[in-house]
């Protein structure tokens, strides 16, 4: 299955090779091989506790900060191993992340977006900073709602707005890949559909990986789907195929809701 997709190698963004991951002695991810295509949305689905979140956090090395974890295997971004001789800080700038719960900083809306630009020295002057903040907010479809109150606290926004702010914050530092870890799990249906719409737009310019336990979300919003269970990659294919003609019995059982 992977081989078919692999045939066109030119739009390959990330490659995960023989990935094993351990919390202490407990193995959470087992020999995962996967590819992430450029300008496409790859969904990671699977029942709770299957290692989805752990997996997506290996992609930008966020698990590095958790004690007692061990990783084996390679993860390539543009053919360079992100676990190799490379600056982790630079990796995290290139591979942005949006978390399960909206987590804006307790700063103003403007400062939330400006933060990433400032710490990475991405802008030279105030005018440019303002411009980049506006662009990020526009790209995250939030500009119209907040343009008159950029200096008010970000935590005064609604949950859905906060999550779009977090997306804007990630966009501002111009990543290549954006990882979404169940970005809608804390949101209502209307806010969810706005985020989904936004993610669809973003794939024109970014490569997107999204973890979700919402099957409909994966089916309607992604191009490729990986099904994980108990730390193993059961099946990976074009989303349409996974949801219409899965090769594995267990995939079919899961997507038809026989267990979850």
């Amino acid at each position: 299955m992977v081989d078919e997709i692999l045939q066109s190698k030119n739009d390959l963004k990330m490659q995960i090779k023989n990935l094993n991951f351990y919390y202490g002695t407990h193995q959470v991810l087992k020999n995962i091989n996967l590819i992430i295509k450029s300008n496409a949305i790859t969904a990671i689905i699977g029942p709770s506790g299957c290692g989805k979140t752990t997996f997506i956090r290996t992609l930008n090395r966020m698990n590095d900060i958790i004690l007692g974890t061990k990783i084996e295997g390679d993860i390539l971004l543009d053919n360079k191993n992100i676990y190799g001789d490379i600056d982790v800080v630079e990796i995290r700038r290139k591979i942005g992340m949006v978390f399960q719960r909206p987590n804006p900083f307790p700063k103003s809306i403007f400062e939330n977006i400006a933060y990433g630009l400032k710490i990475n020295n991405l802008t030279v002057n105030k005018g440019e900073l303002k411009e980049r903040v506006e662009v990020a907010l526009r790209d995250a479809a939030l500009w119209e709602e907040v343009k008159d109150r950029l200096n008010t606290p970000a935590l005064d926004l609604s949950g859905g707005q906060q999550q779009r702010l977090c997306i804007a914050r990630a966009l501002a530092v111009q990543p290549k890949v954006i990882l979404f870890d169940e970005p809608c799990s804390a949101l209502d249906p209307i806010a969810t559909s706005k985020i989904e719409e936004l993610i669809q737009k973003l794939k024109e310019r970014y490569t997107i990986v999204i973890v979700t336990h919402n099957m409909q979300q994966a089916a309607r919003a992604s191009d490729y789907t990986a099904f994980l269970m108990l730390g193993e990659l059961i099946e990976f294919d074009i989303t349409e195929k996974i949801f219409t003609t899965p090769t594995q019995k267990i995939t079919e059982d899961y997507i038809t809701g026989r267990f979850g």
Binding site: M62, L67, R92, F99, N103, F105, N120
Partner: protein, 284 residues
């Protein structure tokens, strides 16, 4: 049913009695100090030098001395304590060594203050040859309040949600940038509260400065950090134990006590106000 009610009533009255005893003792103590101290307090008392072998005049050198010592202590203990807390909370891998360090810090808080005094005498006064001075006293008091500052700072740091740290790191911030720009600003008021409370503690301590900083009586105000000083708590002690004229000394001692108590209360009040301010502005 009735029996349960009676028990309930009994328990309730018992608890009310207990809390009343506490409130009453605090009230009596304050009444005692205020009623005896208030008489001597006036502008002159606060701003003048003592006169006639401390039987008249003011306590300005003692107020100033306490101010110098506590400021010196906080200047020394705050950077040291906050840095240690940052290391322990943000950088240290939680292994046995770190646990031992934590236990040691907590035990430091339990060491009787006179022991700090002896330590200060041996190290700062004698070994480092700072003499009986503001410097020696400040350093000794600084060590005394170090555990409090470390603990308060650690608490303030760990109260910052991890999701903020993750968000910052995920944007390509280094650990230090994250601490500097996200963690510290959001724990600032907690650290400040801890610092103010420890200033209050340091201001009231007598034993640590007994051998390291204080003098019984000084003709003039301290000139440098190597001068010895008069302080409020020691002034009370001196007035009550030495001298020949208790009739005029005892009221001055109560006046000094009242000044000291008001000073410490004032500091605690500021700390409480700051903490409330902080809680109100905190939304996560």
């Amino acid at each position: 049913m009735n029996k349960r009610r009676v028990k309930e009533k009994l328990a309730y009255s018992f608890l009310i009695t207990m809390i009343s005893i506490i409130i009453l003792s605090i009230g009596i103590m304050f009444y005692f100090i205020i009623s005896r101290g208030i008489r001597v307090i006036n502008w002159e008392f606060l701003t003048q030098m003592p006169r006639k072998a401390m039987t008249a005049g003011g306590i300005s050198p003692a107020i100033l001395g306490t101010f110098y010592l506590t400021m010196g202590a906080i200047c020394f203990a705050l950077p040291l304590g906050v840095s240690s807390a940052i290391y322990l909370n943000e950088y240290a891998i939680q292994n046995r060594l770190i646990r031992i360090i934590r236990v040691s810090i907590n035990n430091l808080a339990g060491v009787p203050s006179v022991v700090f005094g002896l330590f200060g005498l041996a190290i700062f006064v004698k070994f480092l040859n700072f003499g009986v001075s503001i410097l020696s006293g400040s350093l000794t008091l600084g060590i005394l309040i170090l555990p409090t500052i470390i603990r308060a700072s650690e608490e303030a740091l760990s109260a910052v949600p991890n999701s903020f740290r993750e968000a910052s790191l995920a944007l390509g911030a280094t650990k230090w940038q994250t601490i500097q720009k996200i963690v510290l600003p959001n724990s600032f008021s907690g650290i400040l509260t801890g610092a103010i409370l420890s200033i209050g503690r340091a201001a009231g301590e007598t034993a640590p400065i007994l051998f390291t900083a204080v003098t019984f009586y000084s003709m003039r105000l301290p000139k440098s950090i190597f001068s010895e000083v008069m302080t409020l708590p020691y002034h009370i002690y001196a007035l009550m134990t030495e001298g020949t004229n208790p009739e005029s000394q005892v009221p001055i001692a109560y006046g000094t006590a009242l000044v000291l108590v008001l000073l410490v209360l004032g500091l605690n009040l500021i700390a409480v106000i700051l903490r409330n301010q902080f809680r109100r502005s905190k939304k996560w």
